[in-house]
């Protein structure tokens, strides 16, 4: 992740304590921001605000960012997360409106979203196109397909009688979307941190040459990573469609840049700067809390974006400036 050639100075002595302190820059800043908003913004800590923050803002971005974490952990990037989300939402709404039951609509939506990932996987593994360009191509093709299907971007609304109450459903008092994110994060997080496949993914992301010479099936790994990532985005698509009761074409792209930002913010938490699921979730929360808090203390939407950009930059500068080249 770091560019050693940009630093001609000899590497400084490694100070474990100092580096650990720098790794804590993000959590410390996060706590500081929480404390600031708790004091400055009345109602920030209220149950209503916190639950709306989790349910309306956190859940969707978290799902997309979990999908993005897979691709970035394997050393790639997935620019078509929004396309997978959109296709899933489109299939979900179309199937429900056509009178299929909820199970079929869920299955169809997951399939449609995951197909985008399978397409990427075919391009990456079959044609040896780099993930960045492969998913860029998918994004453009997906945009065209959606424009053609929706007459240039007209939303497709769910018929009132077909609306499933997924977003408001609760299991044992816990909202369903939150449960879905928790399950997704647990499965992906465990697979990435503990599983054999996760170790192969991280090996590919960190040391592609070593992975190649140790005989890892790198293209097969990369292919599965993109399928898994698209599956997470497909879940987000279902949830988005069920929340707004419509399919709005090309709405998934709004998540792209924030998802990338959250993954990289989360990577600063890791000792080796690797993408990881817990870090990603904290990154998403960091972005959500900042936007929410600034809104509550009365900043306009426009200044929120400036402040968010500046804060991300600050976190990144803090976490990278103390890192030795080669880490």
């Amino acid at each position: 992740m770091s560019d050693s050639y940009l630093d001609p100075r000899p590497a400084r002595l490694s100070w474990p304590s100092r580096r650990a302190a720098l790794r804590l820059a993000l959590p410390a800043l996060f706590v500081a921001i929480l404390a600031f908003f708790a004091l400055a913004a009345p109602g920030f800590l209220s149950l209503g605000n916190l639950s709306s923050l989790l349910l309306n803002n956190f859940v969707l971005l978290a799902m997309v960012a979990i999908g993005m974490t897979c691709a970035i952990a394997a050393g790639g990037i997935d620019l078509s997360v929004g396309t997978a989300l959109d296709f899933s939402a489109l299939a979900f709404v179309a199937l429900l409106n056509a009178g299929s039951g909820l199970p079929l609509a869920l299955g169809g939506a997951l399939l449609a979203g995951t197909l985008v990932g399978a397409g990427n996987a075919g391009l990456i593994a079959g044609l040896r196109i780099s993930p960045f360009l492969a998913s860029l191509g998918s994004l453009f093709i997906g945009t065209s397909a959606q424009q053609l299907l929706s007459d240039g971007g007209q939303p497709n609304y769910l018929a009132p009688e077909a609306r499933p109450d997924l977003a408001g459903a609760r299991f044992f008092g816990v909202p369903l979307p939150l449960l879905a994110v928790a399950a997704l994060a647990a499965v992906y997080g465990l697979a990435l941190a503990r599983g054999r496949f996760g170790r192969q993914v991280l090996a590919l992301g960190n040391q592609p040459l070593v992975a190649r010479y140790s005989g890892l099936a790198e293209r097969r790994i990369a292919a599965w990573v993109f399928v898994a990532g698209a599956f997470a985005c497909a879940l987000a698509g279902i949830l988005l469609a069920a929340t707004v009761n419509a399919y709005v074409p090309m709405s998934g792209n709004a998540f792209l840049m924030n998802a990338i930002g959250a993954v990289f913010i989360g990577a600063t938490l890791n000792r080796h700067g690797r993408a990881n699921i817990p870090g990603t979730l904290l990154g998403v929360l960091f972005l959500n809390v900042t936007a929410n808090g600034l809104l509550l203390i009365g900043w306009s939407f426009y200044w929120q974006q400036v402040a968010t950009g500046a804060l991300i930059l600050l976190v990144l500068v803090f976490s990278f400036v103390g890192r030795r080249p080669g880490d």
């Binding site: 050639y5 940009l6 191509g137 950009g309 500046a310």
Partner: protein
Amino acid sequence: MNPSPVEAARPRLGTLLLRRGALLAFAAILLVFALGAPNFLAPGNLANVLAQSAILGILAFGLTTVIVGGGSNVLSGGLDLSVAANLGLSAAVYATLDNAGYGAFAGIGLTLATGLAVGLLNGLVVVGFRLPPLLATLASMNLVAGLELVLTENTVLPSASPLLEWLAFGVWLGVPALAWVLLGVAALLILLIDCTPFGLRLYAVGEYPEAAHAAGIAVRRHVFASYLISGLCGSLAAFCSAAWFSGSTTGSGEMLLSVVAIAFLGTIFSRRLRPSIGGTLLATLLVGFMINGFQLLNISSFWVNGLQGVLILLVVALSGLSRKEP
């Protein structure tokens, strides 16, 4: 059977075809449009396409310069995601200054300074703080887009200065002013990057940073310069955009992915698949001709994005075949 050394050194016909394939594909697309739409090759139409391509093209030149200096690895190499947002902010600054009654020179100067400042910020965080460019410019993109929103409050700021009038409606030798701007900027950058020692060193820094460092090239200074050039391109494109739309526009960030696609598409026009200003110019024109040809043939513009995507994948896959495994 092992080929003799001489044979091995000579590129085979297939490889040559693949290398030249991009140009052949370009020619084939032009031919299809020319046969299908009689007006396509009319000088007026060609000049029009050049003018329409100016905004995307100049932004893509900036991105190309950064990729030349940083290497084409997307995650760790050179990348400037803030170019499109920079255009938005610069155009908003120009429109605001113009409406506030500042003189032509103050307006132009401060707009260029805005673009340079964005480049300065990117250079500072990438070179000074060693952030990965993807990440650094992602953050600065948000910051810059936010500043644009603060300035415009998400509305269009109309503006009509003599400069914009000239850019929008000026014609010289039958060619619109915007087309001259595109070609002029391209010529300047080709001179700078392909014909000067600075450009040669920039390529060295991008492709072999360690070797460049060992050879005594100031690596960091060159990378920094590439971000300054990109920032300047952002504000130059802002003038074109302000002329085209008679003021600042909202949603300039949507141009970002097209610009990235064009810059990477441009690499297929070079023999060794490296980024170059000339290749980026050709890729810009290819996309411009496609949009224009579709309009003339009355094909829905919804197909343009998809075809652009297929084209990227096709040429990258084909060019990948001609490249050996590393």
